[in-house]
Subunit: 109 residues, 3 copies
Amino acid sequence: MKLVIAIVQDDDASNLIGKLNKESFRVTKLATTGGFLRAGNTTLLVGVEEEKVDRVIEIIKKLCESRKQVITSTTPVTGTTGVYVPYPVEISVGGATIFVVDVDRFEKI
Amino acid sequence: MKLVIAIVQDDDASNLIGKLNKESFRVTKLATTGGFLRAGNTTLLVGVEEEKVDRVIEIIKKLCESRKQVITSTTPVTGTTGVYVPYPVEISVGGATIFVVDVDRFEKI
Amino acid sequence: MKLVIAIVQDDDASNLIGKLNKESFRVTKLATTGGFLRAGNTTLLVGVEEEKVDRVIEIIKKLCESRKQVITSTTPVTGTTGVYVPYPVEISVGGATIFVVDVDRFEKI
Ligand SMILES: Nc1ncnc2c1ncn2[C@@H]1O[C@@H]2COP(=O)(O)O[C@H]3[C@@H](O)[C@H](n4cnc5c(N)ncnc54)O[C@@H]3COP(=O)(O)O[C@H]2[C@H]1O
Ligand SMILES: Nc1ncnc2c1ncn2[C@@H]1O[C@@H]2COP(=O)(O)O[C@H]3[C@@H](O)[C@H](n4cnc5c(N)ncnc54)O[C@@H]3COP(=O)(O)O[C@H]2[C@H]1O
Ligand SMILES: Nc1ncnc2c1ncn2[C@@H]1O[C@@H]2COP(=O)(O)O[C@H]3[C@@H](O)[C@H](n4cnc5c(N)ncnc54)O[C@@H]3COP(=O)(O)O[C@H]2[C@H]1O
């Protein structure tokens, strides 16, 4: 038995949990916070048989891959008050940090 | 030193923590969410000497055993509006999922 | 790779995260609750290379050492209603409980 601890973005968490559940994986969700950006993120606990760890990581990779997203940001026009010009900015979202820890003993009551 | 990670139902958590504390076990509580039912549950961290792991699991088993509970559900009477008939439904509550993980190093500051 | 799990007081958490980040350590924060006092505390997850574990523990020790703090408590004066006399009380704050767990496998997506 292994415990997969995956820290993912909030936006990807719901889809990821759904997909893991669909393949009969059990998941527990923790609402956590990133230390650096101080923004909310999600930590998932997935206890799984050793031979299934690869599949869990594959699903996380597919659903949480880093990707570029274009958002509209606004910047004030110099020389005027309150006039804003929208312009496109590319940011990178997604990503996941995964720790796999060995489980000495597993019990279901 | 071992770290016991136990996922239990919210209703059992408070009693369980009290009982563990009474036997001088230290406990930290995390408010978590079940992936499948998307309902709140509780995850406990209990760092404990290896020879005490059995006792911690025994206490969890006793306080969180799966049991049947009868709740009153209501079902609308067909053909009428707003008339509800209460009837008994048996649901199963309790249960716990327990992971025991080895601790390389333990420090108390 | 090791996962450092540190349970610290809420008051020390923000400074501690800042200091760990300054030395390029990555940190995830969990809002947790102490089982005994039922008061909020903070649990930090710090995934770090094995040779850096000592440094992380050193930083935690420095920022979370147990120390005495004098607070003003008030006690009602016997024989009167509503008359309170402030007097100094020494309490101990700080402290940390640290578990270091081995990580079988680490992935960054
Ligand atoms: N080894 C580890 N142990 C425990 N938790 C870990 C971890 N590696 C990543 N995390 C968690 O995953 C979140 C995203 O990390 P990522 O490395 O993709 O993205 C990070 C990274 O690119 C950057 N960053 C984080 N800490 C940094 C530091 N000390 N110096 C420079 N950049 C940092 O800022 C992004 C957001 O970081 P934030 O802390 O808000 O949120 C982090 C943190 O909650
Ligand atoms: N291996 C594991 N790793 C991490 N966390 C684990 C785990 N096994 C159990 N849990 C945690 O314990 C809660 C209760 O699980 P239990 O197996 O008793 O009861 C479960 C199980 O009977 C059923 N269930 C869960 N996932 C399922 C799935 N993928 N397919 C079918 N039934 C599922 O629904 C109940 C509630 O599940 P929910 O996810 O809301 O809540 C789960 C989850 O938070
Ligand atoms: N082995 C372990 N496993 C998991 N979590 C651990 C742990 N050791 C400590 N903790 C966590 O760290 C907090 C502070 O523990 P500390 O031992 O400094 O300070 C403790 C200790 O001095 C005392 N205490 C805790 N449990 C006790 C018990 N069963 N009997 C007597 N005193 C207890 O009350 C203080 C506050 O405890 P509280 O439970 O509210 O909060 C605890 C708990 O959240």
